[in-house]
Symmetry: C2
Subunit: 211 residues, 2 copies
């Protein structure tokens, strides 16, 4: 059984929800919008997918991935924190230290960032954008910002602030999960069949004529 529901397109909250409960089951929208489940997880997935879609559009003229852009946005002098080390960057963008190593390598190869050894602690590498990196970020930022704003466009200005605020509160409260490693699962507890390439997937009969 599925919860039928047509979402209000723009201004107010969806009003035909029982005020004592949230939608359960699968939510159905108009013809252009695929149905979604009403759980935070399912919505989070779609929402993030949506943001990534916007992001990729905004980066279409470059060869940057979303995370590579995230690095630039964390390190730039305009509104970032230049000079943080790789662990700090890992914490900020929410990826593993090892992944940061790779991201940094890629961006160094593109000559967009540089690593400087910290004089005080020669283990650490402090990260800065190169002039080329700053220039690229300055060029990209307006479009990305507009894309980000457009995601929130169905909300009223007050709701936009509230939405960001609620996100922040949930992330802050669940800090232990909102970071890499939270998703850890035992090694070797794999679920995919893990075929050798060469043996084909399935007989795939199921009543089809083998013509």
């Amino acid at each position: 059984m599925s919860t039928r529901l047509t979402a209000a397109r723009h201004p107010g909250p969806v009003t035909d929800l029982p005020s004592t409960d949230r939608p359960r089951g699968t939510l159905h929208f108009g013809p252009d919008v695929p149905p979604v489940r009403g759980s935070p997880t399912a919505l989070a997935r779609r929402f993030s997918q949506m943001c990534m879609g916007m992001m990729v559009e905004g980066l279409a003229t470059t060869d940057l991935t979303a995370l590579q852009y995230a690095v630039l946005s964390n390190l730039n002098r305009q509104d970032g924190e230049p000079g943080i080390d790789q662990n700090g960057l890992a914490a900020r963008i929410g990826v593993e230290r090892s992944h940061v190593s790779v991201l940094v390598e890629e961006l160094v190869a593109k000559e967009l960032i540089e690593q400087r050894v910290n004089g005080a602690d020669r283990r650490a590498r402090l990260l800065h954008l190169t002039p080329k990196g700053e220039k690229l970020y300055a060029r990209l930022r307006p479009g990305i910002r507009i894309a980000n704003e457009s995601v929130l466009e169905p909300l009223s200005p007050h709701e936009r602030r509230l939405f960001i605020d609620m996100m922040i509160r949930m992330i802050a409260a669940n800090g232990t999960h909102a970071r890499p490693g939270a998703r850890r699962r035992k090694r070797g507890s794999q679920s995919s069949p893990s075929r050798k390439s060469g043996e084909s997937r399935k007989s795939n009969d199921l009543g089809r004529r083998t013509s």
Copy 2:
């Protein structure tokens, strides 16, 4: 330059934000919470990471991935839509048809779902949970639901409804992006160095003593 800000821990909205603007730059929280950028995209990433963390915990006693569970939640008889075809499922969970093929194969191998050829259109496969699948979903659902609710716990009951509602409105409005394929980028516009295995990554000098 970074926006310093200490998020209110529980009940009300964060109050020290200028009411005419949203936080820009990097947001700093307490010692247990890594900083985040204030853009919807960055928050979406963290939020989804958080939800996935919860999900993986809830699935820890199984060998299901988050998406495999999503399939069960879309097909079960309690609150799902049994009998939809694979394209319908793809639209609902927001993955490519080709990925659904793989997910279905994995779950069929676990004997949790089954494919039935549609009599009316022999191309389509209608999906149903097996009794084993229904049983597993019934066992898992309460824990997953509690995990999902716990994500929203920092919000007041009214805010929880509003948050879900806002998510739904944004997803509905941006329907063209909230689905796979929105993230498309030109093929071959790759960013990784794409090393041959055998040649090592970088000289990695940077002033380290080569002891």
